[in-house]
Amino acid sequence: MADNELILLRHRQIQNLDQLPIYRQNKGFESFKRAVTSMKPEEVTEVVKASGLRGRGGAGFPTGQKWSFIDPKNWPHYVVANADESEPGTFKDREIMESNPFQFLEGVMLCAYAIGANVAYIYLRGEFWQLAAELDKHIEYLEREGLLGDKLFGGKYGLRIYTHLGAGAYICGEETALLESLEGKLGQPRLRPPFPPSFGLYGKPTVVNNVETLASVPLIVERGAQWFRGFGTEKSSGTKVFSLCGNVEKPGNYELPLGTTFRELIFEHGGGIPGGRKVKAIMPAGASSSLIVADDKALDTPMDYENVPNVGAQLGSASIIVIDDSVSMDWLINKTVRFFKHESCGKCTPCREGTYWMHHLTDRIHQSQATWEDVILLQDVANGIKGRCLCALGDFATEAVTSGIQRFRSDFETKTQAAPIQVETRVSS
């Protein structure tokens, strides 16, 4: 592979790639045209399967396999692009859609052709209002150019793409909650199975893929599965956009092969930690992540789906939050728990009530008004949430709490030692 060859953030190397003529000069929509005019839909799925591409939204599920699960007996089929990007620490899909929009749209189109969908929706978080307006313009342009619409390239296949704005709900990044929201209901997850490829939008077979996943597809179809496998590792092929933020000199998006180490990302690309501080912890999957102790072993761990679990976390959406040694973990988990309490959809009792109680407890601990008993109670509440909810939000809410208490115990000891003896007085009204 060429050094620093970018696949997803190509706009940084090709000026004005967000303009259709420039995108087409760079072989844009040739993959889509070739697919529609000379490939069978299942051949497109086979290429994606062979590339080893895994879902970039967080779960890392093999993309081609997901497409092949689509139920061929139930029609119509839908594609839904998940552009709800709301994980604290994640801001990659936004850059792709803003600066390399046609590659993303071509990915949506290739997916639609592969699964026989004639309609695709792009579900964007409501805050991406301006971005949705831009995408609408791009979609209109593609219709005028004959790249979207009925009877494409003189054949039978036709495709329409529509944007749909959410309105501020993290839970809608969960694919079944997203589908509920797109159906005009509360964004609350469904019981699975059935999974969307058999029962999705309006109960029809649906593929829901993340923006970055879809944006990876056009070049895979253009250059082949083996080319894509030339990047990354055996089990985690390709490049990934790492969103780097927190206590780091140069926060931003960095597209690197999967398997790049934390050390390279944080220190070579990110310029290290400001103010002569040391890195204390890393959250590799945004606020949903466990806290990794940033020792040498962790820093030298390759960021891919198979190795991050070895240091007690998941790669997830690869939103790397760097935490320096000025931060105490009681403050940090108070922040993350507040987020999940706000974003819990309220459907499952352990998550709805548990995040509320965890927020109370982390507030008390952070304000030095708690004893060690409260820390134990906090862990109890977290245990009561984990594994007991329909979707992963409840679990996510406990990751930083549990790993924080286990791996940064002294932060909590310090906080609770300082606690004054509380005499509870109850005044009847």
Partner: protein, 169 residues
């Protein structure tokens, strides 16, 4: 045809055309954005109007307004200045930024300035963690991002609104 339909008939038709004819309910969120343009929040009458267009009850529409944070059921400032102070932004000083901004505007978090122009709110992650502190402005008609903020920069923004709204103190 109700008042909302009369006023925005073409736009509402375009919205409805995005979804299968028997799935009109999908249009509830875009229709609420249209409704909210009028006064910056969704009124009781509008709940009925939106429900009527897509064939669901006003209560159902109200549940959507209550669930999603970008819909409001009560009046606020003309501009809702929404600062993210989630973990990544807080690691880059968003809490202090928000406190100082509230101080300069003489409001509490969630409060509205005396001239009724600005409501300051703390909000959850806005996917701009690398350019914190940052804020989003929700007006009746649009949402805009303002990144790499300082309190002075944010105050300049507020001053520009004050001037535009005939209050150049």
């Amino acid at each position: 045809m109700n008042a909302l339909q009369e006023r925005y008939s073409q736009e509402i038709e375009r919205v409805l055309a995005k979804y299968p004819a028997e799935q009109k309910r999908s249009a509830v969120m875009p229709l609420l954005y249209i409704a909210q343009r009028e006064t910056g929040y969704v009124t009781r009458e509008q709940l009925d109007q939106v429900g009527e267009i897509i064939g669901i009850s006003s209560t159902d529409v109200a549940s959507i307004v209550g669930f999603y944070t970008l819909y409001h059921d009560a009046p606020g400032g003309k501009y809702r200045l929404q600062v993210c102070n989630d973990l990544p932004c807080a690691l880059r000083g968003a809490d202090q930024f928000l406190d100082k901004l509230c101080e300069r505007l003489d409001v509490e978090q969630g409060g509205t300035t005396a001239d009724g122009l600005v409501t300051v709110e703390a909000v959850m992650c806005l996917a701009a963690c690398h350019r914190a502190p940052m804020l989003q402005v929700q007006s009746r008609t649009e949402i805009s991002y303002h990144e790499d903020q300082t309190v002075d920069k944010a105050m300049q923004l507020v001053d520009s609104w004050r001037k535009a709204n005939g209050n150049g103190r």
